[in-house]
């Protein structure tokens, strides 16, 4: 049952081979066994999950079930879910029970999916190892001394360890793709604006995008069908016709032009990762694709640009956490300014504070033009690189991350080393493009390697097709870690 695809689960539920309550309980039991070690979930609420499962069973019995009705889905703790503790991995929100549902959550609720629990994450999604969570590091199920990646590390770990059927993540600079790669699962960051950001706690508003994480491209297509859609409460949500992201899954790949950016295969890339990615490209050639050499010349600038823009937006987005209306307030303070200072210095972790300070600095009078404005200009150049590239290819491929999962604590003291692990993913967010990661083998220490597939705007259906065809021809995505 734990190896079933979402489609198989849905069929089994509709055929009454298993009830949603039974399925949910199976997962809850498995979570109870393995989560203490993996720390993938920060909040479980079996009562609420099972209540949803009972409702789903009624719907299944009534014959009005949809594709995901009755299926347990884990939610990254960045999504506000009514009645659920929603912490965003921070002490600041240790006591925040959301009174409302994020758009993504209500989309799942409307589809009859079960909220199985809230998954751990880097604090306010700031991190690439899930070590910045106030609720402790998450372990990579392939090697529990290693990180799962971040910031959607709890989700990646839970999916890889079969502690949920599927889950959600968010991706600001690689937070879906990098942990997907490090945990050997599939993850998709859609085009900016495809999934509403309403109710998703903001890190960097112009980059944040929710997306599905699961065990196969086929599963991701079903999840995205539920998650995507216009929402008038998010001004950056795109008003487009509803599409079926699974529609092209079975198209053959003959004639597909794959762009390989030379900058993604240069210095800094681990040889084990390079080998696995090259093998995947070879597999694609067998499937009928052709390869085109392309260049994304401004790739190297994406990290500095990102670390100006994302902290700038974050410094402002996180101002609402002031201890006044909800969340953490310091127990002792002398006056208003002291209350702010104490609450925020005690409530936020080191990485969050670092980024708030960077962001505050780059927006300050006298520095704004040199940093923020300059970064925005380069952001446009980076986006332009992709426009140029897509004149010559249909999708772009390369490694998701320069290395496989590193050891817990290995990069903790060196933020710049940590930031470099997002070198291949960040440009995609800056350009607002869709990107995904699928497993394509194993590197050193038998840790999974991810293949990144970057599509043109709104090309999610094609990317899923490209990923699915590879997954029909290979079995990397069905490998499971021994727990």
């Amino acid at each position: 049952m734990f190896e079933s695809s979402l489609k198989q689960l849905g069929d089994a539920l509709r055929a009454k081979k298993i009830s949603s309550v039974e399925l949910t309980q199976l997962y809850l039991d498995r979570i109870a066994t393995h989560n203490p070690e993996l720390n993938a979930y920060v909040t479980l609420n079996p009562e609420m999950s099972l209540a949803q499962a009972r409702t789903a069973d009624e719907r299944l019995a009534a014959g009005s079930a949809e594709a995901l009705t009755g299926i347990p889905v884990a939610q990254k703790d960045i999504f506000c879910a009514k009645g659920w503790l929603t912490t965003c991995g921070s002490k600041m929100l240790h006591n925040f029970v959301s009174p409302y549902d994020a758009h993504v959550i209500s989309q799942f609720n409307n589809a009859g999916a079960i909220n199985l629990g809230k998954t751990n994450m880097d604090e306010f999604a700031m991190g690439s190892s899930n070590e910045t969570s106030y609720y402790g590091a998450v372990k990579n199920p392939w090697d529990k001394t290693r990180v799962p990646g971040g910031s959607s590390g709890g989700t990646a770990s839970a999916v890889a360890a079969r502690l949920c059927a599927a889950a959600t993540g968010t991706d600001t600079g690689g937070s879906i793709r990098q942990p997907a790669a490090l945990c050997g699962i599939s993850g998709l960051k859609p085009t900016y604006g495809v999934c509403s950001r309403y109710g998703m706690i903001a890190f960097a508003s112009s980059l944040d995008q929710a997306g599905p994480m699961g065990r196969s491209a086929e599963d991701l297509a079903l999840l995205l069908n539920t998650m995507a859609g216009f929402d008038e409460r998010d001004s950056t949500s795109l008003q487009r016709d509803k599409e079926d992201y699974a529609r092209d899954l079975n198209k053959p790949l003959n004639g597909l032009r794959i762009g390989l950016p030379k900058e993604f295969f240069a210095e800094g890339l681990g040889s084990d990762v390079a080998k696995a990615v090259e093998a995947a490209i070879a597999e694609y050639k067998k499937l009928g694709a052709t390869v085109v050499d392309i260049s994304l010349p401004n790739t190297r600038l994406s990290i500095p640009v990102y670390y100006v823009l994302a902290p700038a937006e974050a410094s402002s987005n996180l101002s609402r956490f002031d201890g006044v209306r909800y969340g953490y307030r310091a127990p002792d303070y002398t006056d208003l300014a002291d209350m702010y200072e104490q609450s925020r210095s005690q409530g936020f972790g080191a990485e969050v504070k670092r980024r708030i300070m960077i962001g505050t600095y780059v927006l300050s009078h006298g520095y704004y033009d040199a940093y923020y404005i300059q970064a925005q200009k380069i952001r446009r150049l980076i986006a332009q690189d992709f426009v140029e590239a897509y004149k010559h290819c249909d999708v772009i491929m390369g490694p998701t991350s320069p290395s496989t999962a590193f050891k817990l604590g290995e990069k903790g003291d060196d933020p710049v080393q940590m930031y470099l692990s997002d070198i291949y993913t960040i440009a995609v967010n800056l350009a607002g493009l869709p990107g995904m990661s699928i497993p394509c083998g194993f590197g050193e220490n038998d840790m999974p390697v991810g293949l990144q597939i970057i599509g043109n705007y709104f090309d999610e259906a094609r990317m899923l097709n490209v990923a699915h065809q590879y997954q029909l021809a290979t079995d990397w995505h069905s490998r499971a870690p021994q727990l």
Partner: protein
């Protein structure tokens, strides 16, 4: 030494939308604290702003009414600072790209003292931009703590910034009043100053005539024209005294205390915030096409200044009368409805409204909208004055009755027997009788004692029981006495 006063105003006009500028919560005044604070007003984690079109429409209206350029693209920016009644930790405002560009307002200035004549002046408006209001901090009743009411948080404001074009308190007050009239006139703001719907910040400096601009101090949040004048008078004198005593005016934000009549320092320039403005990534740039502008233009009423010109040029009214009649849209509407097509009666109609009607309203503490007599009723009475049915004294009687008891002029004239005798035959008979009965006086008159004319008028009026048409009576009497 002579000093020139330099004044510029920043006015916050609360726009009369039913819901807030970035969410659907109500803007109604006076509700129980925090009952109009929804998730967005509370700045819960994950919520997003969505622009209220009605607020934009009102801004466009204002721009058109002041002959300003409406920006085809303007941008919302975040103004970052911490305060407990600012729930997001930033205010959404507009910074370098406001929706309304440079415009102007022509005002009629009535000097406050002496016999100087009213004069016209054009004040340039630098810009007007949309922003959200903050909530309120309540310090009373909380025993050393502060209560926060977020009902007002997110109320739409139009901040209207003038050039430093005013040269006296009288000019500043005239400008503020004209603006106050205009925003109500075009229906974008209820103008209620007690409720804070129209708040003025006044920048004051002094300089030697023709010299460089002096250092300004900003008097915050004046909510009455009387206080504005007092505050400016006090501040100007304070600045002059400071400079003449060898001191220097330091840039500062100050408050006016109506009880003491003095201004006092709120914060100095050194305490000024670095607001770290940057474009709000949650909101798209505001694009306003010419279609939208044209549609708004079609809803604009004739503006006060255009009306004044028409009253002077077409109706022959004085500039003063025209200005008083256009001091509110209600008054102008009343005037025009009372006048109807009888444009020849414009002066007498204006006199009645500026005189009797305004005086009565004043006495009864009513405003124009609450006037107990309708414009049509007043118009009916004016018609009867014009066609000689009633005399002026009869009209006063009609007006008093109308005010107290209602009813149309004709009915009152009938009921009270106020119709004057305009039948020349009847008057001639009456005059003949008087001449016959007073032969001695007639002889005296005819021998040159002109003063006796009044004696005959008195007798004739008495004989007609006051109803003889005075002009007609005069003519006939003169003719008959002449022999």
């Amino acid at each position: 030494m002579q000093w020139e006063i330099v004044i510029g105003l920043e006015v916050h006009a609360q726009l009369s939308t039913n819901s807030k500028i970035f969410c659907g919560a109500s803007t109604a005044f006076g509700a129980e604290p925090n009952t109009q604070a929804d998730a967005v007003s509370l700045a819960l984690p994950g919520v997003l702003p969505v622009l209220n079109k009605g607020a934009v429409e009102r801004a466009i209206k204002f721009g058109l009414a002041t002959g300003a350029h409406i920006a085809p693209r303007s941008v919302f920016a975040r103004k970052n600072y911490f305060y407990p009644d600012l729930p997001k930790g930033y205010q959404i405002s507009q910074f370098d790209l406001p929706v309304v560009g440079q415009g102007a307002l022509t005002i009629l200035v009535e000097p406050l003292s002496g016999n100087a004549k009213p004069y016209e002046k054009t004040v340039r408006i630098t810009r007007a931009h949309l922003e959200e209001d903050a909530g309120k901090s309540l310090h009373a009743d909380f025993h050393g703590m502060t209560g926060i009411d977020l009902n007002r948080a997110g109320t739409p404001l139009l901040e209207i910034v003038s050039e430093p074009d005013m040269r006296s308190a009288a000019e500043a007050v005239a400008y503020a009043k004209a603006l106050h009239t205009l925003v109500r006139w075009i229906g974008i703001c209820d103008g209620n100053m007690q409720e804070g719907s129209f708040r003025c910040d006044v920048n004051v400096s002094v300089r030697k005539p023709g010299g460089e601009l002096g250092t300004r101090r900003e008097i915050k949040n004046l909510n009455s024209f009387k206080f504005m004048q007092q505050a400016i008078d006090y501040e100007v004198q304070w600045q002059i005294d400071t400079i003449e005593n060898g001191g220097k005016v330091q840039q500062a934000t100050i408050l006016f205390d109506p009880d003491s009549g003095e201004t006092r320092m709120m914060r100095s320039k050194e305490d000024a915030h670095d607001y770290r403005y940057f474009p709000d990534p949650d909101l798209l740039p505001l694009d306003i096409g010419s279609d939208w502008i044209d549609a708004v233009r079609a809803t604009l009423p004739e503006l006060p200044h255009d009306k004044q010109a028409r009253y002077v040029n077409d109706l022959g009214l004085s500039a003063y009368d025209a200005s008083v009649l256009t001091s509110s849209r209600e008054m102008a509407d009343f005037f025009e409805a009372a006048l109807g097509d009888a444009t020849a009666q414009a002066k007498i109609c204006a006199n009645w409204i500026i005189g009797e009607v305004s005086a009565q309203l004043n006495r009864d503490g009513l405003d124009m909208a609450q006037c107990p007599i309708t414009a049509q009723q007043l118009g009916g009475m004016l018609t009867r004055i014009a066609d000689g049915t009633i005399s002026n004294s009869g009209a006063k009687e009609v007006f008093r009755t109308m005010w107290a008891e209602g009813g149309d002029a004709d009915a009152i004239i009938e009921a009270k027997g106020l119709k004057q005798v305009s039948d020349s035959g009847a008057i001639e008979t009456l005059v003949d009788e008087i001449i016959a009965a007073n032969a001695d006086k007639v002889a005296e008159y005819r021998s040159g004692k002109d003063k006796l004319f009044g004696f005959f008028v008195g007798l004739a009026m008495k004989a007609s029981k006051g109803k003889a048409n005075p002009a007609q009576l005069n003519d006939i009497l003169k003719q008959k006495l002449a022999g």
